[in-house]
């Protein structure tokens, strides 16, 4: 698909037009950074942050959603199907995370109809990261600051304008009226990509994790790694691929609704049986479960590591836990005893 060139005014006009026509969400300026908000015009958009505090997963898997309503006779009523939605300014790591979530929820065997309906209605216009944060580590996990996985269209800010790289037909349709990009634009984009990738110096060596992690299950090192963890769950809620949920009923003023809300494997109640028995009573066991899940369990389940290296769990952890160090330490720990 042909890359196109848009000057800044053209992009603004396109966004203004889209915001009139459909529901467009984009990062907007927040007290502490950026957050996703519905925009009325291009003027609302704020792309100066490396990323939003919350990932975009909520657009296909909301923090809280109505699964069913019950009529006065107790008959379940399904909610209305979701409307079209366009996300502008999603970063490549978050777009890839949506692709991973789709693999979880829209599997071969059983599909989650709520996530599927939302995923079908969403268009993703990504903006490549020319700058990265010290917590970014998408490289080495199959990502890149300029990756296109999961996107419909990728925009690269060139300084003088934008390079628009369509990924899907849906994305191509949005930019067909603009002139093709010049070779010079492509060259600039390539240069920016190399520059951004060079900024990411911490990497996770994933090649041997599949063997090392199962072997590390019983290691006492987990106690030490999880010592600071207060099991607050922020890493799971802000993780763009964490997908655990709870189902709960609520009756307010006679109206009964069955909700789905995000849940977290870091909570003690999460795994507690009705009998009171809890297979992951130890906080370190819960921390281990999250690390194992990201780097080993999901490889078995959907064929890939479900960490995209966005760095949110590192940045927002109140206890200063760094998942890169955890993985590193587990790797060296298993190496040690092999000798």
């Amino acid at each position: 698909m042909k890359p196109r060139h848009l000057n800044p005014e053209e992009l603004n006009q396109l966004l203004d037009h889209l915001a009139q026509e459909t529901c467009v969400y984009a990062p907007v300026k927040d007290r502490t950074g950026a957050r996703w908000e519905r925009i009325k015009s291009s003027a609302d958009v704020w792309l100066q942050e490396v990323n939003t505090a919350e990932p975009a997963k909520g657009f296909i898997f909301p923090r809280c959603e109505i699964m069913l309503k019950f009529d006065p006779d107790g008959n379940p009523v399904e909610p209305e199907p979701p409307a079209e939605l366009l996300l502008f300014g999603i970063r490549p790591c978050d777009a890839r995370a949506i692709e991973i979530l789709k693999k979880f929820f829209i599997g071969e065997d059983r599909t989650d109809p709520y996530v599927r309906a939302r995923a079908e209605k969403v268009t993703l216009i990504g903006v490549a990261c020319n700058r990265t944060a010290p917590t970014c580590f998408c490289l080495g996990l199959g990502g890149s600051p300029h990756a296109t996985t999961g996107l419909d269209l990728l925009l690269v800010e060139l300084g003088t304008g934008y390079l628009a790289q369509p990924v899907t037909e849906k994305g191509e349709k949005l930019v067909t009226t603009f002139p093709p990009a010049a070779e010079r634009d492509l060259e600039t984009a390539r240069h920016l990509r190399h520059q951004a990738e060079a900024e990411i110096t911490t990497r996770i060596d994933t090649r041997t994790l599949k063997e090392k992690l199962p072997a590390a299950y019983d290691r006492p090192v987990w106690q030490q790694l999880a010592l600071n963890c207060i099991n607050c769950g922020v890493c799971t809620f802000l993780c763009p691929t964490c997908h655990c949920f709870d189902i709960t009923d609520e009756t307010v003023r006679g109206k009964t609704v069955r909700y789905r809300v995000w849940d977290s494997c870091q909570f003690t109640l999460y795994s507690r049986h009705a009998s009171g028995h809890n297979p992951r009573l130890d906080p370190a066991a819960r921390y281990r479960n999250r690390v194992m899940d990201k780097f080993y369990y999901t490889v078995e389940q959907i064929g890939e590591i479900s960490c995209v290296g966005c760095g949110r769990c590192i940045h927002y952890c109140p206890a200063g836990i760094d998942i890169r160090q955890t993985v590193e330490q587990i790797s060296t720990e298993t190496e040690k005893t092999k000798l």
Partner: protein, 280 residues
Amino acid sequence: MNPNPYLPLPMRIERVTIENDGRDLKTFDLAFINEADRAGFSFIPGQFAFLSIPGVGEAPFGIASAPHEPLLKFTVKRIGVFTTALHELEPGEVIGMRGPWGNSYPFDLMAGKDVVIISGGFSFTTLRATIAHLLHPENRRRYGRIIAIYGARSPGELLYKEEIRVWEQSPDLQLVLCVDRLNRATWPTREGLVPNVLKEVAPQSDNAIALVCGPPVMLKYTHPVLRELGFQPDQVFLSLENRMKCGIGKCGHCNIGPKYVCKDGPVFSYAQLLNLPPEY
């Protein structure tokens, strides 16, 4: 099949039976309200379903009836918010049901072999379904000897008493009932813990499959006995009951390593479990 796996189907409670002296175990026999739902529903013993009460919530329970039986049976212990609400319901009332979920006991593997069923406490439900299924005239000849050891704390805590009294007399299976304390009761006749009784009964392991379901402490002491009797890990199958919310491998709760109890289980071979973290 139901396109939305979270949508409960309406079921009418046909019968409620108090099962035990403690009066905290009730059996609910349910009938489909819509004929189309009934026609589209099929299951294999070992599978489970969620029961749903609007405004209260949902919880998963093993299906205690066999596929040929007209009513869908669930035996529920009153232990939390949902089960307390369920225990208050009476015949004629309507509840929701969604399922069946999970795999089943390995009936294909059991064909032509002896089947040894070991159960303790109120986990007997899906094994009751299994026995009823195996004893069905159309199925019985497909299997070898059927030996069932079923134990409870006291005689009053044994489930499905009328039925198991009949089964005790049946030539089609050897049913061994036992209780921790007889307390001067005349039935059943055997006092003892399930693992010890298993040792006494000593079913042979050649060409046999063992199905085990019970509280963790029973499982812990049953495995060594099975091992002594010569049962290999791939001849022993367990049904697990982790906390779960969705039943279709999405909500995350019931994972044991990379496996989900709801989707990959609830029945696992002991050989499988030896390769998984002990998180159940």
